[in-house]
């Protein structure tokens, strides 16, 4: 069936269409720098979207929960084996993405006889030098590094909208997490709907869904620098969208 190169390329192209279609209903994930470190935020309807991976690494995912789970387990296994066999200092987002995640994701995408991973991932790392590193990993294995923040949106228009909005968010690393939380929530809204209907969408969302947020911060005691935000913190920070319009 795929003996001719053209047919293989066509099959891959069809697969891309299928995956982008499957990802359209996913809830976006936002990761932004803040003065405390890195804030990851999403809104979930039950399934967890933001995960702790290692002492200084967190992951956000958009896609099929079972595929996200498979990838999450791959990266957790790799991080813990590396941290144990060498040192926790040797566990880095770059190595996890470049050597742990991207190759199997690409392989699954291009092996037409296999099911691809229906997932896009965001990996954030708070460096010991206080650097903030963000990686996005696409369903085809393509990954990108950035230092200014990342929005994992559904492919197409939403991604372009968010990339453009993110460029306008300057100096986030000098702003407090409580403020950046609001920016992250607004970016999440922009990844869902166009700007003119964003505010009403954010208010509607909070009626039956819950914000999920995680902070990577040097101030967290102990070697693990990841902590989920408490319900009280999230209620306080999202108050502007909870109060009557």
């Amino acid at each position: 069936m795929f003996e001719e190169p053209y047919r293989w390329a066509e099959a891959v192209s069809n697969r891309r269409e299928y995956l982008e279609d499957q990802l359209q209903s996913g809830s976006p994930v936002v990761a932004l720098p803040c003065i405390e470190g890195i804030l990851l935020l999403s809104v979930s309807a039950g399934t967890q979207k933001v995960y702790e991976i290692y002492d200084r690494v967190a992951l956000g995912a958009l896609g099929h929960p079972a595929d996200v789970e498979r990838l999450r387990n791959i990266v957790i296994d790799m991080a813990h084996l590396e941290g144990f066999n060498r040192s926790p200092s040797d566990v880095s987002a770059r190595r996890l993405v470049q050597f742990g995640l991207a190759p199997p994701v690409k392989q699954a995408f291009e092996e037409i006889g296999r099911a691809p991973y229906i997932a896009r991932l965001l990996i954030a790392e708070l460096g010991k030098d206080q650097s903030r590193i963000f990686y996005s990993l696409n369903y085809d294995g393509v990954f990108k590094e950035t230092h200014t923040g990342l929005v994992l949106a559904t492919p197409g228009e939403a991604t372009e909208r968010c990339e453009s909005a993110l460029k306008n968010c300057e100096g986030l690393e000098n702003r407090a997490m409580s403020e950046v939380f609001g920016e992250a929530f607004k970016l999440w809204g922009l990844a869902e709907v166009a700007e003119d209907s964003r505010e009403s969408h954010l208010r509607d969302v909070l009626k039956d869904r819950e914000i999920e947020a995680m902070l990577l911060s040097e101030s967290v005691p102990g070697p693990c620098k990841v902590r989920p935000l408490s319900k009280t913190e999230m209620m306080t920070f999202s108050q502007p969208w909870r109060a009557p319009a």
Binding site: Q48, Y51, D77, H80, L81, F84, N85, P221, G222, C224
Partner: protein, 263 residues
């Protein structure tokens, strides 16, 4: 299928630590080599939480190998392990435990139960039995944990075969422990207040006095050396988590209430 079990993951990856029992088939039945070992550790419950402490000396036979060993090791936010015995094996056990608990929590998206944590250490000790009976890696630890959900304090001690015992008030192990076990019993039974009623500062003072007592009678237990700034490792575990007592804090309490006779 691995379900949050880091030890199984290590076995799958042929980690040298979990292959240690193979020594039984290859090493001689006994060894004349003096191995580094470590000495007096203790734990007790005080008013606000748990205290766990250990001296800093590591010895090999009659030789003092090191006087700044840390034998009290954080395992996670609410549990600490202290080791008596072979540091080489014990430090590795602590690393396995620490990674196991974190691995379980991160992969299974929930904390490992306290029973699960206690058994994990028991399993490591059982796996180490072949090495221990050959005299090349005996470990006799104390494991303490604060359960923040129920505000409960737990102290367990183990034998080298992996049997675990939960104690009510205190535990001591290591070569210097016989000398202080009786002191702790006496103190707890006839002092004006039991150990569990002590404030944190008083608990730290008691720990330092006990370790100095152990060092007085056991050459393998290191005493407190103020000139060299060698003080015991002392940690507390409360609802807020594990806290290591700073050198400044220990020095101040030592000078105030341990160094000189004080009632």
């Amino acid at each position: 299928m691995i379900a949050g079990n880091f030890l199984d993951l290590l076995k799958q990856e042929h980690s040298p630590f979990v292959s240690a029992p193979n020594l039984l088939h290859t090493a001689p039945a006994s060894t004349q080599t003096a191995l580094t070992s470590a000495t007096t550790i203790l734990a007790f419950k005080y008013r606000e939480g748990l205290l766990i402490a250990g001296d800093r000396r590591a010895t090999a036979g009659n030789m003092v190998m090191f006087d700044r060993a840390d034998k009290v090791i954080d395992i996670d936010r609410h549990s600490v392990m202290a080791i008596a015995g072979s540091p080489a094996t014990a430090f590795e056990m602590a690393r396995v435990l620490s990674h196991s608990f974190q691995y379980y929590r991160r992969s299974q998206l929930q904390d490992l139960s306290l029973e699960g944590k206690v058994r994990a250490l028991s399993r490591l000790l059982k796996e180490n039995v072949p090495a221990a009976v050959q005299g090349i890696g005996t470990v006799v630890p104390i494991f303490v944990a604060y359960d923040p959900e129920n505000a409960q304090k737990h102290i367990y001690f183990y034998d080298m075969l992996g049997a675990e015992f939960e104690v009510v008030d205190f535990a001591t192990t290591g070569s210097g422990s016989p000398g202080i076990r009786g002191v702790l019993h006496f103190y707890n039974r006839w002092n004006s207040e039991p150990i569990s009623a002590l404030s944190q500062d008083d608990a730290v003072v008691l720990a330092m006095r006990l370790l100095e007592t152990a060092a007085e009678h056991d050459s393998a237990t290191g005493g407190i050396k103020t000139a060299a700034q060698v003080f015991p490792t002392v940690k507390t575990i409360t609802e807020e988590g594990v806290r290591s007592l700073s050198l400044a804090n220990l020095k101040s309490l030592y000078h105030e209430k341990v160094e000189n006779r004080h009632v």
